[in-house]
């Protein structure tokens, strides 16, 4: 079964190629159906292939396809172990639902076929990323998802903001990729290969802790770029210019979690450096808090979710940085469901509101969109961490494990807890402003429930958000931590974080649920009733910290004015002053110099033959003088 694992990648890839040539001709809805069925088939294949892992009898396998760049140990080799299985299933599973949803969402778009080409291509790229057996192939997937992300963000290319957002996403990702590349250089220099087998088996044989710190920090830079962590988070909110299913699939459920996956995959490297681990965790925690505060103030329905995604990714980084790899992956898994759900729900709303994204013009949609609202309600409970929904189990496992580490991690736990509170506030506000309260629709907008092709994926994702938490509860019996057992073979050699003993986890759970409830209660009261929007802290003219939050801490302005603008000025100076005047100037000066010397010598050429003859004769005499003086006689 695993021998043909490449089929999982090949299916969506073939779909992409096919749709590239015939997608537009195929048109609605067949292009979508083709795309959905390829990735759906991939999901089923992966599910079957992962069968042994479910029963606990499977073991990791490497599948060699063909040599790619053999001198670097970067060949087309796939690794099939529980970790890649989880990722594959998440990508194909959630991906299938989002593909399905897109059939309805992209209705009427003139480039309908092209959209599914790109979506399928993304799925294939992401699968390369998670199935790779070496850092080289991982990097292939890593960059290709960046490409698909670029293509899909700027899908509506006639909109300048969309084109700019796509470019920004790709370039910011590339900054991280440079870090990743440097990490790979260090790996190759120390291990002479990029294959996981050699690098991750027992890295301490090859490298010291210091080298490990260097490698992992560089890899972390790459991960931060892809997973939108500080300092490279700022592309993700802009990426919401893309169609909503794209936001759901790429910028919530799958691509952005690649960084988390990579850290978990390279766990044995990260384990060698306590400093790197601390950095990962700290970056995660601060990103979580930072993004959550910005999310409090957004008025675009999707941007709230974008910052929320950044914040949740922060949790995952916090988890893997603490050594709680399985908890991090678990959160990745549950988050894929509830965040995709929330995005798709917001897409459903946007669809219903005639492409309106401003929450100031929504409200009261609960009655007109009952299915959407119901599923969003589930998503809301899941993300703020109300038991027994999925978010609770994963988030609280992370918080408990972080707490258990103690020390600096204790502080990070506090940040995590505050973030949980803020998450409840902004998500409740989001629900309030969108679905509850009074309607603030523009004239001529008549919201309606979305068609079944869109609501069915919503329902499926809602079910997942509600139930999949139960596969990893810390209890015995039926509610045993199945997910953990499933993944454990991938982390055998890694020392994992442990839960605090005794009743502490339960106390911690109560605390965080209480925080979530507090946040939800506060937001419900604050944004309820008449004029909810005006009272919401989004109005103009605020001062102090709110103003900063309102503008996303001016990060975009700072980057624009302190990095991009000077960069352009330096480039312009180099091009139009240094290059043309100094470098080319000296070339031209040499040419001019030759010309000037020629000018000086010019009068020597009198044109009188007899002058020339005289000079020739003088030469003869000169030669004779030389002979005589040398004594040649």
């Amino acid at each position: 079964m695993t021998d043909y694992l490449w089929i999982v990648i090949a299916l969506p890839l073939a779909g992409a190629v096919f749709l590239h040539f015939f997608g537009q001709r195929l048109g609605e809805p067949w292009a979508g159906i083709v795309a959905t069925s390829t990735i759906g088939a991939g999901f089923i294949y992966a599910l079957v292939a992962a069968g042994d892992f479910f029963t606990g009898t499977g073991h990791g396998e490497t599948i060699h396809l063909f040599d790619w760049i053999a001198p670097l140990g970067a060949n087309a080799e796939l690794l099939w172990d529980p970790l890649s299985a989880v990722m594959t299933l998440t990508v194909t599973g959630v991906g299938t639902l989002i593909h399905l949803y897109s059939i309805g969402y992209m209705h009427g778009d003139p480039r309908y076929g092209r959209f599914f080409t790109n979506l399928n291509f993304f799925a294939a790229s992401m699968l390369i990323l998670v199935l790779a057996d070496n850092f080289g192939l991982l990097f292939v997937g890593w960059e290709l998802v960046g490409l698909s992300s670029y293509l899909l963000i700027s899908f509506w290319f006639t909109k300048p903001s969309a084109a700019a957002a796509g470019k920004k996403a790709f370039i910011v990702n590339r900054i991280g990729d440079v870090g990743f590349l440097i990490g790979l250089m260090l790996i190759l220099a120390n291990f002479s290969t990029l294959t996981y087998g050699t690098v991750l088996e027992e890295p301490a044989r090859f490298i010291t802790a210091g080298t490990a710190t260097a490698i992992t920090l560089m890899l972390l830079l790459g991960a931060a770029g892809k997973s939108a962590q500080i300092p490279l988070y700022f592309w993700l909110p802009d990426a919401m210019e893309g169609p909503t299913p794209v936001s759901a699939l790429i910028h919530a459920a799958t691509m952005v979690t690649a960084g988390v996956y990579m850290v978990a995959r390279a766990a044995s490297l990260f384990e060698l450096s306590a400093f790197s681990m601390g950095t990962v965790a700290t970056i995660g925690a601060f990103t979580a808090l930072f993004a959550a505060t910005i999310a409090l103030k957004q008025r675009d329905i999707k941007r709230v979710l974008a910052f929320s995604t950044i914040s949740q990714l922060g949790y995952m980084f916090l988890a893997v940085g603490t050594g709680a790899y399985i908890a991090g992956i678990f959160h990745l898994f549950t988050h894929a469901f509830f965040k995709a759900l929330l995005f798709l729900g917001s897409g459903s709303v946007i669809h219903a509101m005639n492409d309106e994204q401003d929450m100031a013009k929504m409200g009261g949609l609960r009655t007109v969109m009952p299915v959407t609202h119901a599923t969003m309600f589930v998503g809301w409970l899941a993300i703020i961490g109300i038991p027994p929904l999925a978010g609770f189990w994963s988030k609280d496992e992370i918080l408990a494990l972080v707490f258990g580490e103690g020390g600096w991690y204790g502080f990070l736990w506090v940040i995590g807890l505050v973030t949980a509170l803020l998450t409840a506030v902004y998500m409740t506000r989001w629900m309030q402003l969108t679905f509850w309260g009074e309607a603030r629709w523009d004239d001529g907008v008549h919201p309606h429930e979305s068609p079944a092709v869109m609501t069915v994926p919503l329902l499926a994702l809602a079910a997942g958000s509600a139930l999949f938490g139960l596969i990893n509860t810390p209890f015995k019996g039926f509610f045993q931590p199945a997910f953990e057992h499933f993944l454990e073979p991938s982390f055998e050699a890694i020392e994992m974080a442990h839960l605090p003993s005794g009743a502490t986890p339960y106390v911690l759970a109560v605390i965080s649920v209480a925080a979530a409830a507090l946040g939800a209660w506060y937001a419900t009261r604050r944004y309820r009733g008449e004029n909810a929007f005006e009272r919401a802290p989004v109005a103009e003219g605020r001062t102090g910290l709110w103003r900063w939050v309102d503008n996303g801490y001016y990060v975009d302005d700072i980057i624009g004015n302190l990095l991009v603008l000077p960069g352009k000025l330096v480039a312009a100076w180099t091009a139009f002053v240094f290059d043309s005047d100094v470098i080319d100037g000296s070339v031209r000066a040499v040419g001019g110099g030759v010309r000037r010397i020629g000018g000086w010598l010019r009068p020597l050429q009198t044109g009188f033959v007899r002058n020339y003859a005289a000079v020739t004769f003088a030469g003869v005499v000169g030669l004779l003088v030389w002979f005589v003086s040398r004594g040649v006689s």
Partner: protein
């Protein structure tokens, strides 16, 4: 003794002819002077046993070439005296100075030794047979090349004349 007389006699004629050519304002006299010089040189060839080249000197140089010169002088009508005034600065001084220095240097060399090689027992005999022997053995390739040169020269002369005629024809 006879050779000394011949040398002095014809040496004076040769130098006088050469000076006439350089100094006489009228090129016709110059040409005649040069002809005298060439004939004298032919005599020296004979004295030095260069029988064949002496004949060639008389026939080709003194005969054909100098006649051609005279013909051209007549044809383009410069057979009148020209001004010997020098217009190029320093040219005359330079020419005379260089000539003097050259002669002094030659004299310096002559004062030491003209020829370091030992004198041969017998002078070579430059008869037609002996010259031909060398020409058609050792010097065959250069000899054939000279034929090419002559052909090119004659073709060139014809082409120059014809080109010029065509231009004039076009103008008229």
């Amino acid at each position: 003794m006879a050779e000394l007389v011949i040398f002095v006699l014809f040496g004076v004629i040769a130098i006088a002819g050469a000076l006439t050519m350089v100094l006489h304002p009228n090129p016709v006299y110059g040409a005649l002077g040069l002809m005298a010089t060439m004939l004298s040189i032919a005599v020296f060839y004979v004295v030095n046993s260069g029988h064949f080249i002496a004949a060639v000197q008389v026939v080709v140089y003194a005969g054909a070439v100098m006649t051609l010169f005279l013909f051209v002088i007549m044809m383009i009508g410069v057979d009148r005296a020209e001004s010997l005034e020098e217009r190029l600065p320093l040219q005359r001084q330079l020419a005379i100075g260089l000539g003097v220095v050259f002669l002094i240097l030659i004299g310096l060399i002559g004062g030491n030794a003209w020829i370091t090689a030992p004198e041969a027992a017998a002078a070579p005999n430059g008869t037609v047979e002996n010259i031909a022997d060398l020409l058609f053995t050792d010097w065959l390739l250069p000899f054939e090349v000279t034929t090419l040169l002559l052909i090119i020269a004659s073709v060139g002369a014809v082409a120059l004349a014809q080109f010029d005629a065509r231009r004039r024809g076009g103008e008229e």
